[in-house]
Subunit: 160 residues, 2 copies
């Protein structure tokens, strides 16, 4: 009988553990993911390379249009360094969805609106910026969510 | 003692179950994911709308550049229907990575190369097509992997 009780305790502990893993998908991870992407928006608008890089995982991949993908944190750093030398962004991201698919992985779709200014001349570039973004985020071993993959494109009509 | 044995059996069954879930990430899912994306390539090159649509999940989102995202299978169908009326693709996808993040979710990065021909005139469009793709795939309740989210952009330099 004592063994049976033990077995029930062991099994219920296991069940509780796995149940908690499932529940952990929820509110705190979701808020943390939103916080990371808000911090990304802020760092992007401040042309803050290190602020941006701190939000990317070491093995991340950044996939901006009209470029080969930037693979790994050093490549990501150089991409933003180059970009911020040329353009000054003022954009806002709006969340379409945040989908956590495991305790340590999630993807997020956003759309963005704003303006691009040329650093050299101070001139605004083209029409208002309008984009769609697909982020894959991974919870790191230290518990912080970071951007693992990021692809985006313009939703403005193609230039003829 | 019999209860203890029972408890051991229950616990090891549970452990085996979860271990199998972890192992299931591997070869068969990976081959199946590759098969789905090869089928996508084939259907795309054949301008086969229903062939493409069959590879998308019902609640999928297709995010081509220069368009708002197409949300849901009917919107996805209309996007490819419109596209295939105008252009004839001949592209090849090359896998950069296949990352399964849970028993039922994975993401895939590819690059693509090929040509676009205008249906109306038979003229080739612009330079060779070169793209980068980010697919999120979900294993459906029937066990089939399908495209759940798909964003891409050109890796060719921006037109000036």
């Amino acid at each position: 009988m004592r063994a049976l009780i033990k077995s029930i305790i062991v099994v219920s502990t296991l069940v509780t553990l796995f149940a908690n893993t499932a529940v952990a998908h929820d509110d705190s991870d979701r808020s943390e993911i939103k916080r990371v992407l808000s911090a990304y928006e802020k760092a992007l608008n401040a042309s803050n390379v290190e602020g941006v890089v701190a939000l990317y995982a070491n093995d991340s991949v950044f996939m901006p249009p009209n470029s080969q993908p930037f693979v790994g944190i050093e490549a990501v750093r150089s991409a933003y360094t180059g970009s911020f030398k040329n353009i000054d962004l003022d954009v806002e991201f709006m969340f379409d969805e945040i989908v956590q698919v495991s305790p340590t992985w999630a993807f997020v779709r956003t759309r963005s609106e704003g303006t691009i200014t040329l650093v050299a001349t101070g001139a605004k570039v083209g029409p208002e910026v309008a984009g769609q973004e697909l982020f894959v985020l991974q919870k790191q071993s230290d518990g912080n969510w970071k951007i693992a993959r990021y692809a985006f494109s313009s939703t403005n009509p193609a230039r003829q």
